[in-house]
């Protein structure tokens, strides 16, 4: 199973040959502005991908899906809708057959239903593989904006939908997408005083959920490597809270370093070669790194206060972290060697969980002020603080790989009997718009967003 999965992946990588069918001719007339809150999402028509009878039967046999073409288009539609930037139109209103639309759309028809962009495509079963082609059309200009085709193994069909969305999103917004990605998180079950926590992973849209641990020991704060399929997290295995490394393709696990005490709050360096974390000893937590190749451990911070939640800048030159050296939790930055420590949070309240944006210009954080928790962002010098959302309890933002969306978790207040506790994942745009719950099978916390699986 593991091996097959791996083979599929390799196959996918090799077969992920993007064939540009036609050069981009049309000058982009439609553009989506994602720097502001978008209250007028772009109306877009996602035509079901055309599929011939033979392909239909074959895919049905292999995947048990009646019409793979329309299923993939539903994934695209759903992704576009969830982004908050697009308004996928109801398919009932579509006038043109998907097969013909993919060859040459009758733009008047699509204009009539107010579509500004149109996605068409075709799936075919060739040599046991799934071949996809799709096109993006500018309806108003009556021109093709993009045409791509690629081949993969049929079991990758959901990823096909995500990859199409990424390409469409990138063409229309000018920014990379974040749809062909996964979320690693902590699944939670049971009463608040006795929670069972498991490591879990799912596609960005909640599908393909898998549990990676059984719930025998407490696990917390998983984080994806930005470069490969490794995850670092905190496990209380044998009641010894330590940072672990897990390869999600092989299932192989190991403790990170040999510390005589609790290690926690792990994250990868941007090149995936180091783990940065806190080590607590004798009541003092400081920041350390371990090189995953040569196993060399380095102490980065050395202060009698609590130093935790470290996060590297995308160029690896700086580290932002959380410290209470001023008396209360605040956000600091320092050089990656621990020198030149500077406090950057000076607003009212306590600040925690700083995370550097993959774009490098912002730091997302959790703020506690007057009994309320906020998720916010500030510039790396601490100016321009902007609070995106307020709630009874929420924390631990994680950036989408394009730095446009934050995912975090939120817990509910219990009633007077101590009942009604829940923990859920939520996401919000950097703009503060499009706040929504991310559906999970169980309660969930500590989400971490992967990089784009295909680049």
């Amino acid at each position: 199973m593991q091996e097959k999965c791996w083979k599929d992946k390799m196959l996918f990588r090799y077969l992920f040959i993007l064939l540009v069918l036609l050069p981009i001719k049309a000058f982009a007339l439609i553009e989506v502005d994602i720097t502001r809150g978008n209250l007028n999402p772009l109306p877009v028509a996602v035509s079901p991908l055309a599929i011939d009878k033979n392909s239909k039967n074959n895919f049905n046999k292999i995947l048990n899906i009646k019409n793979l073409g329309s299923e993939i288009s539903i994934i695209v539609e759903n992704n576009l809708k969830q982004s908050g930037l697009f308004n996928p139109l109801n398919k009932d209103a579509f006038l043109q057959e998907s097969e013909i639309a993919n060859l040459k759309p009758r733009f008047e028809d699509w204009n009539l239903i107010k579509a500004q962009a149109l996605v068409t495509g075709k799936v075919t079963f060739i040599d046991e593989k799934l071949r996809v082609e799709f096109r993006l059309w500018d309806v108003l200009a009556g021109k093709e904006m993009m045409a791509l085709a690629f081949t993969t193994v049929p079991s990758n069909w959901r990823r096909v939908g995500h990859i199409i969305t990424d390409k469409v999103y990138e063409r229309l917004t000018g920014e990379k997408g974040y749809f062909d990605t996964r979320i690693i998180y902590i699944s939670e079950e049971g009463p608040k005083t006795n929670r069972i926590k498991k490591l879990a992973i799912m596609d960005q849209d909640g599908f393909n959920n898998k549990f990676l641990t059984l719930g025998n020991e407490l696990v917390l704060t998983p984080r994806f490597s930005p470069t490969n399929q490794m995850v670092t997290y905190l496990s209380y295995f044998k009641n010894l809270p330590r940072v672990y490394l897990l390869d999600i393709e092989t299932g192989k696990q190991e403790v990170v370093g040999d510390f005589p005490g609790m290690t926690f709050a792990p994250r990868f360096s941007p090149d995936g070669k180091k783990i940065i974390m806190s080590f607590a000893k004798d009541g003092n937590s400081d920041i350390y790194t371990m090189d995953l190749e040569n196993r060399i451990v380095e102490r980065i911070s050395n202060h009698p206060s609590i130093d935790t939640s470290p996060s590297y800048s995308p160029d690896g030159k700086y580290i932002t972290f959380n410290s209470d050296r001023s008396g209360y939790q605040q956000i600091y930055i320092m050089n990656s060697n621990g020198k030149n420590v500077k406090r950057i949070s000076f607003g009212n309240g306590l600040y925690g969980t700083p995370v550097w944006s993959p774009r490098g210009d912002l730091i997302a954080f959790t703020k506690l002020h007057k009994g309320k928790f906020y998720i916010g962002v500030m510039r790396i010098d601490g100016t321009g603080e902007r609070l995106l959302t307020e709630n009874f309890y929420q924390e631990a933002p994680s950036w989408s790989p394009n730095g446009r969306v934050l995912i975090f978790y939120r817990e509910t207040k219990t009633n007077t009997k101590g009942e009604g506790f829940s923990a859920k994942l939520w996401s919000i745009d950097l703009t503060g718009y499009n706040e929504k719950m991310v559906e999970t099978e169980t309660d969930a916390s500590d989400p971490s967003w992967s990089s784009l699986l295909s680049n």
Binding site: F264, D282, G283, I306, S309, N322, L368, A396, G418
Partner: protein, 159 residues
């Protein structure tokens, strides 16, 4: 006339204030909180007769209160008498903080209890420390009293 009315009002307000303060102080002593440190015995278990197993902390604090020190002196006396027993000090935080900071805070709380036991002659070899942060609350409530019970260091027999 007007002035006397104002004075009367001021007087009434002052009286009201005094009464309210009195109530508040009284609540402090009869209730289960001192400042915001838990003083009750709701979740408390005993290592031996008269030896409570836990101490409580103020929000964001790791300093031991007078009551906590008294509890720890009892624990130290009990540990001296039972020299074959080792203990784990489990440090906890309430739910009103970020997870990672709370792990560090729990570790610091357990260590301030450990340091105190050591000053009363208990060898550090007999004490280990384990932080659970906010992961294991005893009270699932979302209110100041519940939180005060959860900010604790619990001494647990290890053998």
């Amino acid at each position: 006339m007007n002035l006397s009315k104002t004075l009367k009002n001021v007087f009434l307000i002052l009286v009201a204030c005094l009464v309210l303060t009195a109530c508040a102080t009284q609540k402090k002593t009869t209730g289960q909180l001192q400042g915001d440190v838990y003083t009750g015995s709701d979740s408390v278990e005993y290592l031996a007769s008269g030896v409570p197993d836990r101490v409580f902390f103020a929000t964001n604090e790791t300093v031991l209160t007078t009551a906590s020190r008294e509890t720890l002196r009892k624990q130290a006396a009990w540990l001296r008498k039972n020299s074959d027993i080792n203990v784990v000090l489990e440090g906890h935080a309430d739910e009103r903080g970020t997870r990672e900071y709370n792990l560090a805070l729990g570790e610091r709380r357990a260590n301030s209890a450990k340091d105190y036991l050591m000053t009363y002659g208990i060898s550090s070899d007999r004490i280990s420390v384990l932080s659970y942060g906010k992961e294991k609350p005893v009270d699932s409530g979302s209110n100041p009293l519940a939180w005060s019970k959860n900010r604790r260091s619990v001494t647990v027999k290890a053998n």
